[in-house]
């Protein structure tokens, strides 16, 4: 009897723990290990926290509420957590950065709307609510980004774009290994990412599959933007113009004849029908006048 009781209690306890851990798992973010270890190149202090607060108020507060007051938007599911909670503060800087970059469900991503600096400053603001937090700075030195050169090579036969990333250090050229590379094509309102985000190999090369059907300007020019993010050299962006797009020169939408277009571009059937009606009516009027003259002439003769 006693043993049975214990077994039941243990089973219940086990089920409850399992249930909670499942719940927790549902809220956890699945962050790749190399992103988890990423650290800020900006030293977090009162100034960065202050400018981070401005960014937070503009972009995050509407859902997450004031940090530490747990007054976020309660209507959302899942509920946006209060960012001073242990659930958030337990995460590494890299994980927080990843969350800002990718977003999930109702949370939008901020990788295109906030600069990397602003994203780190928001994290700095969030960390200012955690007294136990000790920052680990990354090895990134943004001043070294000027040394890096990105060479783009397009192979028309295979439709592949090859990038090689080299830093021209004083001691000689150094290839950037395992650096994150993104390829974009410039569009009117933003940058269109080509293929996926990849990492450079041991020779500092990265190869992207380039689409064959991307429209360029009237002669097929495309503005290609390459973005490299390296742990030591920071973020590097390079731009070139290449004639590898599909030449696009579509006619204007008001070029064709239509009933809604201007008078000069009215449809032929309207022009023909209208003109012939005017001509026929005019002809009848001429005939009538002519007959009236003839009648008066006949009247005068008699």
């Amino acid at each position: 009897m006693f043993r049975k009781n214990i077994i039941i209690k243990i089973t219940i306890a086990f089920i409850i723990t399992a249930f909670f851990s499942l719940q927790l798992n549902a809220q956890r973010w699945d962050v790749p290990s190399n992103k988890k270890a990423k650290n800020s190149y900006i030293k977090f202090d009162n100034n960065t926290a202050k400018s981070g607060e401005e960014v937070y108020t503009k972009n995050c507060k509407s859902c997450h509420g004031d940090v530490g007051k747990a007054n976020g938007n309660k209507t959302l599911n899942p509920q946006p957590p209060d960012l001073s909670s242990t659930l958030t503060q337990e995460l590494t800087d890299g994980e927080l950065f990843y969350i800002l970059n990718t977003g999930r469900n109702a949370m939008p991503n901020f990788k295109n709307t906030l600069s990397e600096e602003d994203r780190w400053k928001v994290i700095s603001y969030i960390r200012s609510f955690n007294k136990k937090y000790v920052q680990v700075l990354s090895k990134t030195d943004p001043s070294k980004s000027k040394l890096v050169k990105i060479n783009m090579n397009f192979n028309a036969a295979t439709n592949k774009m090859n990038l090689s990333v080299v830093a021209n250090e004083a001691s000689g050229p150094v290839v950037l290994k395992d650096a994150e590379v993104m390829l974009f094509v410039s569009r009117y309102f933003g940058k269109l990412q080509i293929d996926k985000t990849i990492r450079t190999d041991k020779d500092g090369n990265a190869t992207f599959n380039f689409p064959k059907d991307l429209p360029g300007d009237s002669i097929g020019n495309l503005t290609i933007v390459a973005k490299v993010s390296d742990e030591i050299y920071g973020e590097i962006e390079s731009q070139t113009k290449l004639t590898i797009g599909v030449p696009t020169d579509k006619p204007s939408l008001t070029a064709k004849r239509a009933i809604w277009n201007v008078l000069k571009l009215a449809p032929w059937w309207i022009i023909i029908t209208y003109t012939s009606i005017v001509l026929i009516v005019g002809l009848f009027l001429v005939l009538i006048v002519r007959n009236l003259f003839r009648i008066s002439k006949i009247g005068a003769q008699q």
């Binding site: 569009r187 309102f189 020169d249 204007s252 009933i259 809604w260």
Partner: protein, 323 residues
């Protein structure tokens, strides 16, 4: 005495200089007087007073030089802003994609739009509707701006060429030309147009503004107003007011010729045709042949359920009032 008088006077140098001086000054004075007179006369003939009848039926007399000739047709007398608004932006074909699966009825697009175009709260260039097709189908929120048809029925019925289609696809209206007949409101199958029945909300503060048809500000009493696809923002390379105001990533906007649309919330750029193909995008009432420039993505996999309090309004027409 007489002998002396008859004797010709000997001209001294002083006398000669005196005479030359008098003649010189005299001729300069006379010359300038003549030139001034001619100029005065010229002005009098060239700048003759003319009689002008104003639109308010007042007969005025003005100097001819101050008058500018008015062309016979309205199109000859457009301002720079009006001309620019008719020409559009070269090589572009604007296109909008509305992802209904993300709309949570935040209505930020509406307030941003009304703010930009100085509209009254009941006037909508864009409206978020509560939709339900039939008793057993799911209700959803649907943002509905002007569809900017490639075959616009509203433009076809305008008797004065006030509303027009631009080469880049935007359908605009020029309030300076509009006579307020409201044919276009009747012709539009999407109910996209509004009428300014009363004085505009910001009439007093806008009265010195130069009219820009691309923004349609200032609004004008007795004329029709409609969504402009934020033509003024497109000119600056910025996303439309509604698109950038959305907090939920509902809107994509871009150029069909570039095959790219940019999300207003995340600023992420994706390929337009792929987005439509992958998500089974559709257009409103395409059976009418209006060929719209606004595309919709179906309201599937929504993260937030349709609000209970909005259900009666959505189901009004199918008798679901108390559902």
């Amino acid at each position: 005495m007489s002998e002396q008088e008859e004797k010709p006077k000997e001209k001294t140098r002083r006398d000669f200089l005196k005479q030359v001086g008098i003649v010189g000054i005299g001729s300069v004075l006379a010359g300038s007087a003549i030139i001034a007179g001619i100029n005065y006369d010229k002005r009098k003939t060239k700048g003759a007073r003319i009689k002008v009848l104003t639109a308010e039926n007042e007969l005025l007399e003005i100097d001819r030089n101050d008058a500018t000739k008015v062309g016979k047709f309205k199109a000859e007398n457009l301002s720079y802003m009006q001309k620019q608004a008719r020409e559009g932006i070269k090589g572009k074909r604007w296109v909008m994609v509305i992802d209904l699966s993300k709309c949570k009825n935040a209505r930020k697009c509406m307030s941003a739009c009304q703010d930009a175009h100085h509209l009254r709260p009941e006037q909508h260039h864009i409206n978020v509707l509560k939709m339900q097709e039939s008793t057993n189908t799911a209700p959803y929120y649907m943002a509905k701006p002007c569809q900017h048809c490639d075959n616009p029925p509203c433009v076809a019925v305008c008797p004065v060429d006030a509303t027009y289609k631009r080469p880049d696809g935007i359908v605009l209206i020029d309030n300076e030309v509009c006579i307020g007949c409201r044919f276009c409101i009747a012709a539009c199958p999407y109910s996209a147009r509004v009428f300014n029945w009363t004085d505009p909300i910001r009439a007093e503060e806008d009265k010195d503004l130069v009219y820009n048809p691309e923004l349609n500000v200032p609004q004008k009493k007795g004329t029709v107003s409609k969504c402009c696809f934020s033509a003024d923002r497109c000119r600056e390379g910025k996303l439309p007011y509604c698109v950038s105001a959305c907090p939920n990533g509902v809107y994509y906007f871009g150029d069909e010729n570039e095959d790219a649309v940019t999300n207003g919330t995340t600023k992420e750029t994706v390929r337009f045709r792929k987005l439509i193909e992958d998500n089974a995008g559709y257009r409103l009432m395409s059976e009418l042949g209006t060929d719209t420039r606004v595309y919709y993505l179906p309201p599937k996999n929504r993260t937030q359920p349709f609000k209970e309090e909005d259900k009666p309004e959505a189901g009004e027409h199918i008798g679901n009032n108390n559902a």
